[in-house]
Assembly symmetry: C2
Homo-oligomer: 209 residues x 2
Amino acid sequence: MREKTAQSLRPQHNDAIWTASPAPSSTSGPAPEDGAEMLNRQRLDAFTHARLWKNPCGFAARFNYLALRYNVPLYGWVKERFDLSRVEFVVIYSLAIQDGVTASEIASSTAFPKNTLSRAVNRLAGLGYVARRPDGDDRRSQILTLTEAGRAVFDEALPRFAGLEQEMLAPLSLVEREMLSMLLAKVVLAMFHGENRAADGSPQPLAEM
Amino acid sequence: MREKTAQSLRPQHNDAIWTASPAPSSTSGPAPEDGAEMLNRQRLDAFTHARLWKNPCGFAARFNYLALRYNVPLYGWVKERFDLSRVEFVVIYSLAIQDGVTASEIASSTAFPKNTLSRAVNRLAGLGYVARRPDGDDRRSQILTLTEAGRAVFDEALPRFAGLEQEMLAPLSLVEREMLSMLLAKVVLAMFHGENRAADGSPQPLAEM
DNA sequence: CCGGGTCAATTCCTTGTGGAACCAATTTTT
DNA sequence: AAAAATTGGTTCCACAAGGAATTGACCCGG
């Protein structure tokens, strides 16, 4: 083990970036409410506050927070509404976005292991949500299609997903959203390219939804 | 099932926001490289491209993408370097950020179920990474502390985590990072408050790291 | 001072997940 | 053209994770 003792946390992280003074843009609050003062309610809040603001990896903490707060309720709902697991719904969602794709394409694009995908596709086929027809070119692979039932599931679920996203974005003005979208796009694209041409053989895992 | 047939995807999502024209800020590329043209390499790229850009929930897709690309390699490394599971390392990380917190505080702040946390803490205690001493006030709970060994783990791991974050943020200029941080902060804070005072009894799950 | 209600922590048990081996179709090598 | 190496998909299996019920501690009202 290394010998880098503490020294790591306290003064190290660049406060300039992560201290979060919401900046003079929005309208809502009257006070200058700077993220630090907004949250002294209980211990838990303090702890959570620390995770988000005193965290040397504050950026990661934030999108992890968002991802969790987004995925947990939605996939929970999917589970109890359609009795579909997360992977299964991801398959439906994927096909809804781009139809006629093969199972392993979804696999490598979503970072779910092949076998998990296989099971999901099998179950979905059994339930009549997706149809698979053999690929003419390659008799191993089968290309997947969303059935009417499958699309119905997607059509019912989409408003929830989109709705929660809108809800999350509610505190931002339109230009702010555009800005945020643009910045995230930049990061994502760079990552995508970077890892995509990383000849390490790493299988470029991607997002789950 | 509802009868809302297709109509959902094509023209619905607000292109103005999600079309991602990286805007005239950075320096690198000579061409106007607009995210759509950058990625026509193979089918997989096309599919992934669709997931990120033709997705009605593009914002969610993006931070899910980021979260995945961030967490998978890092926690994979943690696993093979320290043989610690994700939850276990999250406990260490949490204590490193805020020491002397109780197990269930971590639980409710990280959205991991109590039992999972319990197991993790037990194992960590066994390995000598965390110490637990009974809380004077409440004999049920025990407050957790990072041992020297535990902090050593954190100190070795932190550079990786911070490093990858920096790597992800590399394509952004300093002001862009600050802007992104601020925007995410706004969203996170609003979510935090919203769900925090949502008297639904929902246990306000939070980020994992 | 005693009973319902809550909460921290743990244990039990079922399920889903993902690693590894496997089969078949395919492509590449020589 | 046969053998070797890849690749899409499936099956097997060990294990970890999370739901539900349990124990012990605490808080509260009568």
